[in-house]
């Protein structure tokens, strides 16, 4: 009997050992004690810019965090989900030092605010030539659902995600405002002459797609635009975004309102796009990055989505524009606000909160 039990025990342990996945990575802390790190922009392996929601633009120079924030950053409204948010380097940053930052901008003398994007030149620890290139209209009373992520299309135009402002969700279905939209502009703030709604006099000309909620991740992969957005309670979405398309919010959704109420009992309608993936319950998807590095060959051609709830990163294996597998990674770091790739193949993660940190994921 004892012998049989021993054999049984050995078999169970062996099965457990064989089925356990080998961890192929480890973490390396880059910066700690950060105030709500929100967006990462990698200049090169040792030089990284990032925003703190509380209003600072910070830089890691030669692997060391500069204690002094970059000066010349515009005033931001740091409240709720608002603050200094998105950050992206110009495709020609190496030669022109231009970057773009998005933030919640307080309206002077009013209790309203809006999503604003500025272009600026990074010159020796300071922003110069700061110029507003986009300001969402109309303004909002709420400090939530800004979107505020950015990505460049291959033609050099800039995509900006603009959230629905929470209280204004229905406006995502109308083209006369910037709530719940993806915006496309040139880097000087002008409007590309092939934007899809230019001929519609009732539409804002910057609109590229609509019917979005709170879009916190966007990446352009081989010309295909992937975007992830927070659903309400459930119904977080990953979409492939095409110009002029309606992504349905809040007329169709897989989620419920925070009160438990049905926002819409419909999940599909002709003329409204379906997500390529949705999550119920919510994972609160935040940043997005596409991996094509050499450090983790198994992760090549994967889409990485950082998530706030319960806090992990989703690695989505792509086959064309279809997801064929989802793997949960880095679930021991807590809420993850953003993810980026470094030229050396490592991944950079920003953990959320008032005591956030930047972590590099390298191989073991």
């Amino acid at each position: 009997m004892i012998k049989q039990l021993k054999i049984f025990f050995i078999v169970i342990v062996s099965i457990s050992y064989l089925s356990a996945e080998e961890v192929i990575y480890r973490y390396e802390s880059i910066a700690e004690n950060l105030s709500h790190p929100w967006a990462i922009a990698v200049i090169d392996d040792n030089n990284i810019l990032f925003t703190e929601l509380s209003g600072s633009l910070r830089i890691i120079e030669e692997g060391i965090l500069n204690p002094q924030p970059i000066t010349g950053v515009p005033e931001v409204l740091f409240a709720g989900q608002g603050g200094l948010s998105g950050l992206i380097l110009d495709p020609n940053f190496a030669s022109n030092s231009m970057l773009y930052i998005s933030f919640s901008s307080p309206d002077k003398g009013k209790k309203t605010n809006t999503l604003e994007v500025v272009s600026a030149k990074l010159v020796s620890g300071s922003l110069a030539e700061v110029k507003t290139i986009f300001k969402a209209s109309p303004s909002r009373k709420t400090a939530a659902h800004y979107g505020a992520r950015m990505a460049f299309l291959d033609d050099g135009t800039l995509l900006i995600t603009s959230g629905d402002g929470f209280n204004y969700r229905e406006k995502a279905q109308y083209l006369d405002n910037h709530f719940g939209k993806i915006i496309r502009i040139n880097t000087d703030g002008s409007i590309p002459d092939d934007n899809p709604f230019l001929s519609d006099k009732n539409a804002k000309p910057e609109i590229w797609s609509y019917g979005h909620r709170n879009l916190q991740g966007i990446a352009v992969v081989n010309g295909v635009v992937f975007e992830n957005e927070h659903g309400p309670m459930g119904g977080d979405e990953l979409n492939i975004v095409l110009p002029s398309k309606n992504y349905g919010w809040p007329a169709i959704t897989y989620g419920k309102d925070y009160s438990g109420a049905t926002i819409s009992p419909f999940t599909e309608k002709e003329g409204m796009e379906q997500p390529i993936k949705y999550w119920v319950p919510s994972i609160a998807p935040s940043g997005m990055a596409f991996y094509q590095g050499t450090l983790f060959p198994d992760w090549n051609n994967s889409l990485f989505i950082s998530a706030l709830v319960p806090g992990d990163v989703r690695r989505l294996e792509l086959s064309g524009s279809k997801i064929i597998n989802e793997e949960i990674l880095f679930s021991d770091l807590g809420r993850i606000r953003d993810i980026a790739t470094s030229p050396d193949g490592s991944l950079i993660l920003a953990t959320d909160g008032p005591n956030g940190k930047l972590v590099r994921v390298i191989n073991k």
Binding site: A79, G80, A143, A251, S259, A261, T262, S264, P265
Partner: protein, 154 residues
């Protein structure tokens, strides 16, 4: 005492049903405006679904929120009625209205100006919810008055 408790509970349930009705109406009306196929069956399904989920599947059970608001407002009304000469239905009606208005106005303050009750985002929505609070409180006042009258006649 037991009857009072029964009618108080009934009042809170009525108010909860009315608030959830407004929430459902608000969402469905907008969906109709964008040509979504909202039928009577869809409306009913959503309403009954909301009755369950808004009391057991949301951030805060609606019935608990309304109970807290109404209990506080009714207690104040009861005290004020010692000095103020007002009919009970009117006094409790006003208390019910104040309770729901307070819920609608105070909730956003706790959530960065976010209106968690979508049916109370617009001014009309706020008026309707306040009216529902008044009707619920008025009902409670009537039950109190009736039983007071019955006690005197027996």
């Amino acid at each position: 005492m037991i009857k009072n408790l029964f009618y108080l509970t009934l009042t809170i349930l009525i108010a909860t049903c009315l608030v959830i009705f407004q929430e459902t109406m608000s969402n469905m009306t907008w969906l109709i405006s964008v040509d979504m196929p909202v039928t009577f069956a869809v409306f009913l399904g959503s309403y009954f679904g909301n009755l369950v989920l808004m009391n057991g599947g949301g951030a805060v059970p609606m019935v608990a929120l309304i109970a807290i608001g109404m209990l506080a407002a009714f207690l104040i009304a009861k005290i004020l009625l010692i000095w103020v000469n007002l009919s009970k239905p009117l006094a409790y009606g006003l208390a019910g209205a104040a309770a729901l208005l307070a819920i609608v106005l105070l909730m956003p303050l706790a959530f960065y100006n976010l209106d968690v009750l979508a049916g109370g985002r617009s001014i009309i929505g706020k008026i309707i919810l306040t009216l529902y609070g008044f009707l619920s409180g008025y009902f409670f006042g009537i039950t109190l008055e009736k039983r007071g009258h019955n006690d005197q006649t027996t």
